[in-house]
């Protein structure tokens, strides 16, 4: 009898939890700052410029443009990576923490997971020198 009642109580709890929408937070600026690939590409750009011009920093316009070009591949895949992380977490909504704060919403921060997905995907991405 007890077990039967436990089952009913748990079912009620699960059903009510299933109605609530799952919100994840992804901070795209923080994702860039945390990315190993991002940091590596920046170092490669500085090293290549050092070799070619004798000066590592600051990057000149040409190198900056080439770096942005390389980084854009990573950036443009962000949306897909967010979707992958959202699906894996059966999330309903993914927003920037700033939006969540503005709207008074709460969610779990999954920025680190998105960075892992992107860094794995672009592990072999190299800086394309101008």
């Amino acid at each position: 009898m007890h077990y039967f009642l436990y089952a009913i109580a748990l079912t009620l709890l699960t059903a009510s939890a299933a109605n609530a929408s799952v919100i994840l937070l992804v901070d795209s600026a923080k994702a860039e700052a945390q990315s190993v690939v991002f940091a590596r590409l920046k170092s490669e750009a500085a090293a290549t410029q050092q070799k070619q011009t004798g000066k590592a920093a600051p990057l000149n316009a040409q190198f900056q443009e080439a770096l942005e070009q390389s980084l854009s591949e990573w950036r443009s895949a962000l949306e897909d990576a967010v979707a992958k992380v959202a699906i894996a977490n059966t999330a309903d909504i993914v927003i920037e923490p700033s939006t969540a704060k503005l709207k008074g919403l709460q969610g779990t921060d999954r920025t680190a997971d998105v960075v892992i997905v992107l860094d794995l995907q672009f592990a072999k991405l190299k800086f394309a020198a101008p």
């Binding site: 109605n19 309903d92 909504i93 993914v94 927003i95 920037e96 709207k103 008074g104």
Partner: protein
């Protein structure tokens, strides 16, 4: 042994009470509801019949203005062309040419003013739609006890079949309440 059995039974009863209380609390009006609702209004011009009709009307009016300008401007442009090819000295045709160019500029200005009027009337009509959209969104927010209504373009991702996506309901209510948007020219 009997005492231990009684203690265990009391413990199980307490656990059951706690579980049921949590379940009941979770069933209260504000529990389990979506924190946020989503609206994806990017295809509103296709889905809201009044907005779709307004778009067709505005497009038609702008085309009509352009058509009127072109038919009024064509004879003037032809006269200008004829003057160019008349073989007369430029000094002799300067006055005529200037008059034609002034007439053309006036026509263009009149057409542009008319188009601006249509543009402003369109903005006002769209503002009426926007206001209703906001009103309906707030209604749904209150009905569902949500903290916020988010626009799809402000999200990094959303599950299109999420119960929190109220786009269809919003379109349904707007179509029922706004059969037509009037272009007040």
């Amino acid at each position: 042994m009997n005492l231990i059995h009684k203690i265990a039974q009391a413990g199980m009863s307490l656990l059951l009470i706690a579980l049921f209380s949590s379940a009941l609390l979770a069933q209260t009006p504000n529990a389990g509801k979506e924190q946020a609702l989503i609206v994806d209004s990017r295809d509103a011009y296709e889905r809201v019949s009044a907005l779709k009709a307004l778009f067709v009307e505005v497009d038609g009016k702008i085309r009509a203005v352009r058509g009127r300008f072109e038919s009024a401007a064509l004879p003037l442009q032809r006269s200008l062309e004829a003057l160019k090819n008349s073989g007369q000295k430029p000094e002799d045709t300067r006055k005529q040419k200037a008059q034609l160019l002034i007439k053309l500029a006036d026509l263009q200005k009149a057409a542009s003013i008319e188009q601006q009027k249509i543009g402003r009337a369109n903005e006002l009509a769209v503002a009426e739609f926007d206001a209703l959209m906001l009103k309906v969104a707030l209604e749904l927010q209150t009905e569902r006890g949500a903290k916020a209504v988010l626009q799809a373009q402000d999200l990094l991702y959303y599950r299109s079949d999420c119960p929190c996506n109220v786009t269809e309901e919003i379109y349904k209510r707007i179509n029922a309440r706004l059969p037509k948007l009037v272009l007040k020219l």
